[in-house]
Symmetry: C3
Subunit: 467 residues, 3 copies
């Protein structure tokens, strides 16, 4: 293990075998699974709704909590495994890895989050009590890990990804628990806890894993016709089920109803804006797939922090436009700046889609809180603002935003350092964005040897198509 | 803007830059978005189920209307964005455009339909009151636009599509409102209002946009192995969720139950029939993908107008066979005839999948109404036929069919004329069916230059594969 | 028809026309559809929840059974048509066939199962009473046929598949009815009746259809980059909705809640294990797509027989690991052994994913029954074990396992014999795994002529990628 504590150095091609997963991956996975078996056997039991013993003759089976939670859980499952999987398969030579590493990382993150979140939020009498609501919470934690993963897509081994998940889940669970328990924020769509946390954690990781030679682009950092279509499919699955994501954890009834309305309206308006901006800023007045794949989704994040409040439909519409605009210009100007000047290589531009939009959303949430009156909300005012009066609540939201960003950035830096240890099978610079490194590929796999690395100028999160 | 009022002329290749979206698309979109912002802010508010103020201590949150509507809304979302998107991506060089223009058109249509349908159906006290039921209705209006779009697939710019949606939604909303309010028809599956309207509107548009030189086929009017598979995926998503589509707006309870049963049975039987016919009429006794992609779905439309009635399961089965047969022979004989003799180029054959099947369905609906007795329906007879006695109702159905067809055809012709104005960035004949015109494409995009335009004979909605 | 009763012989290339579907397929389909029309008209009517006459003023429409069953039905639909369809499209030259034959076989199986299961389970007063619950049961019967189909994927004509479905559905329905009615087993996830039955039926069929020359591999038995991705998508759709599959037919309430929890946990743990094993046993320490496509799903089957019981979450976790391990080594050692020594060519390795896991699951189910006490279950003990006391029940489970395996193997052998009749349009050995035999393919279809059949060594269910 001593050899592990050396910082990563780009390896010459003849030493590529050191990225073999033959021993590393099974050892790590089996160790994790043994830990899981022990912890699950010691601590995990059913919650009341899943426990046969808690039912009696007067229990109405149809009032079981699963009927309220499962539909949203199923929708989020599609988003995580199909939506994210396809979205991250956009690189021409990295489609297998994109979809398959997402699968592995998600499957581990969820089982791990059930435990860790359980300890903090569902622990009672020496046991973690689980039901579908825990699975749903764990999927949100999983979404956090996958968003952070986007920052280092193409540059990490499955071993590194499991380690990232192993560390990020506890960082996230502690932050979530502290913020929810002590600061008690309104954040129905998870803007602060999910999007901002995931973004700044991911930026922390990628800051540590900085690869200067990739700032000029990588010969394989490009899409293909099929990979672009697969990625759009991922976008569409995320788009379609985003209302479920944003409304899954709201109060039931009219709150959840509004969450769906706002998310949907925000997505519609940000999709329109994205198409306008992509044509406007393209040199030849054409549409750019990368914008359609990413920027269209900005509205879903931007409505998040005020998604269940009485902000009025037009506010959701305006938030969609604002978030989309910030996201678009972020991709255009901020991402290249951060890579060159701040050593932050944000591979998929999570700072645009989750950071900038998250900040706008947080501010909008604070405005919505400050503008809340009993005249608008009626008696449910005291249910939504159960913790404290609106002005006071606004201050606490501010505190939560800063606390979350600070905690996630620190956690990301630490996690990035662990991921940079030598035994993690990190790919060399030249092996990035290449399925062949960690996967057996079929005989028709395009090895990319025919590509001449000229006319490649970096634009957005992947190479601008040379013409 | 004066230059706009000239009819479209095929442009030589060196003038292609006039299809740049750089100014046109952003100007149109931002203008539309400003209109939306104004109208949403002036007129749109929450309906009672989404309004916090309308809840009180006695409100049971789980009885909120969203729990009845949202599952169907989510299913229809998948059909619109994923199903339609993939289905329209079947051209080899037009996959990006097929999926991406569907995305844009759908996102705009829905937000626009929320407003326009709202004015006609949900307007009260100076405000449009919205909840998930409005979103669901707007998705149906969106389906209408997308079906009409199929008639001109590959030949239209995104500007034209937005204009089409801008005009079709009001035409549709007025027709829908008039038919539902004054003629009060039974049309649970939307056969008359959705499928017939969309079909004849689309045919009206394509009649005006007639391109004689494309009657002999276009060199890029072909599929690829991957685009065919993507298209089948679209078919499968539509097939799988069609029961939700047909049952989303029925009366709750046994009516909705029957709607699901009939749709499913109709789809199963039409799928079987489609496989039989495609093998039977193929020269070498093989299956044709285009038939499997389209004709299998005919049963879903054909059961539409009687989908909630007590027609008995065998009737749904028979309707599936009949609709499928009409649809198949429509593709084989009617579509080529219409293109050559009637100047109606129906690119995806919507007259087969929505027109012929819609007419059969309408007739079946009338029969079902005439055969309805209290013996069969019991007391719910008066709930289903709440407007008038069955024989009288049958006459009104006839009137509604003719009124809908007339309104949609006129609307389509007018809309087609507007779409043919010069400023709409319509592609020249030779640029049709080509992603490169409006989208940046990756370097592996097949420019199609190697294709020799021989042995190409037009069959169904795309080129018969030359062997 | 006399010519039909000759056993199949590999045909020389110039006789390939005898696989034309031009007459055979339409004749078979139309005959089946006439039978359906007659039987549906004579015997099929609505069940009480779908029958308008059975509703009255006191009926609460929202308590209609469809609201309990439809969400699970819709999820299983996605699994069957999209999940299975994509999963079986993994061969490079057989993607069209994989997805399209699944579509046809499924559409027929379901309509046929509604009738046959209806006769055995929902027959009353001379009528089969159908509602969504029948459709759900029929989808499970359809899953049985599709699993069996996997054993002969690439080697069968659509005519053979329809005949297989025609015979397998009655064999299955009789077995299901006998086991449920007389042996009355606990098998919520369908491990015994679905997975074991489907597996041994499929092995029976493939035993009869043995093709010795294919034991050395077939030049077209390989994947492509795109087909592998499509297949992973299928895996992900199955993975995501498997909890719905395993819980669709449990008792409502806490039982269904546990079924979802256990399935999800089992899938998570088997996914982890699959990634560990695939890296560990790959010569160069890389991941193998075939393992990720198949072995990850083992956990879903393995938790099946005890899925609704109080086995505790850690038991589901352990079952996921065990099932996955058995499945993985089955692919590695048992499948090649069975092909070479037992004349059983199990094309997709169903004996690993459904047989071995099914046996483990059955044993686990028996243990769970033997360990059940009132202390754990409370009063619901007598609801779950409504038939008899646990020890006695365990014996009956054993009997059911053997009876099911015996019945399915015999049924499979008989069905295989019928499928081997000469008129079934079975492909010759060299035409296997090739879309061109039964489908029109687009001009960019890779005919595979450039592939040099060297370095091809059989591994798992498809060729190991030569490097």
């Amino acid at each position: 293990l001593g050899g592990c504590f050396q910082s990563i150095v780009p390896l010459p091609a003849n030493m590529r075998t050191s990225t073999s997963l033959k021993v590393r991956l099974p050892v790590l996975i089996f160790a994790l699974q043994i830990v899981m078996l022990v912890l699950y056997s010691l601590f995990v039991t059913y919650d009341d709704n899943a426990n046969a013993k808690m039912q009696n003759n007067e229990t109405n089976p149809m009032e079981n909590s699963m009927y309220r939670d499962y539909p949203y859980f199923a929708d989020v499952q599609v988003m995580i495994f199909v939506g994210f999987g396809c979205l991250l398969a956009f690189y021409r030579f990295y489609g297998f890895s994109g979809i398959v590493f997402t699968f592995l990382t998600a499957a581990f993150s969820i089982q791990w989050a059930i435990l860790i979140q359980g300890f903090f939020q569902f622990y009672d009498n020496g046991k973690i009590h689980i039901g579908i609501i825990n699975l749903l919470n764990a999927e949100f934690a999983c979404a956090v890990v996958l968003i952070s993963y986007c920052a280092v897509l193409g540059k990490t081994s499955p071993v590194q990804l499991l380690v990232m998940s192993l560390l990020e889940i506890p960082f996230f669970a502690v932050t979530e628990w502290a913020v929810l328990k002590y600061i008690r924020i309104n954040d129905a769509g998870g803007t602060i806890l999910i999007h901002l946390f995931a973004c700044y954690f991911g930026l922390g990781v990628t800051f540590v894993l900085y690869r200067p030679s990739l700032n000029n682009g990588h010969v394989k950092e490009m899409t293909s016709y099929n990979s672009d279509i697969l990625c759009v499919l991922g976008t569409l699955f995320l788009w379609v089920f985003w209302p479920s994501f944003n409304s899954a954890l709201t109060i039931k009834g009219d709150d959840q109803h509004r969450a769906i309305l706002h998310t949907f309206i925000g997505l519609c308006s940000s999709t329109m804006t994205a198409f306008a901006l992509t044509a406007m800023f393209n040199k030849r007045g054409k549409l750019t797939m990368a914008d359609i794949q990413n920027v269209t989704l900005a509205g879903g994040v931007t409505v998040g922090a005020s998604v269940d409040m009485m902000i009025s439909p037009v506010a959701a519409y305006a938030l969609g436009i604002m978030g989309c605009t910030a996201c678009f210009f972020g991709y255009k100007y901020l991402t290249p700046f951060m890579a060159r000047r701040l050593r932050i290589q944000d591979q998929c531009g999570i700072h645009n889609l989750h950071g900038l939009t998250g900040l706008i959303s947080s501010m909008a949430g604070i405005c919505a809180i400050l503008l809340a009156t009993e005249e608008i909300y009626g008696p449910s005012m005291y249910q939504i603002f159960s913790h404290r009066a609106p002005p006071e609540q606004a201050l606490f939201q501010f505190a939560a935003i800063f606390a979350t960003i600070a905690a996630s950035a620190v956690g990301g830096l630490l996690t990035g350092w662990v991921m940079s240890l030598k035994c993690m099978a990190a790919p060399s610079d030249e092996d990035c964005f290449d399925d062949e490194l960690f996967l057996d590929v079929p005989s028709d796999f395009d090895t990319g040897k025919s590509i001449i690395p000229m006319n490649i100028t970096k634009d957005h999160h992947h190479i601008h198509y040379p013409m």
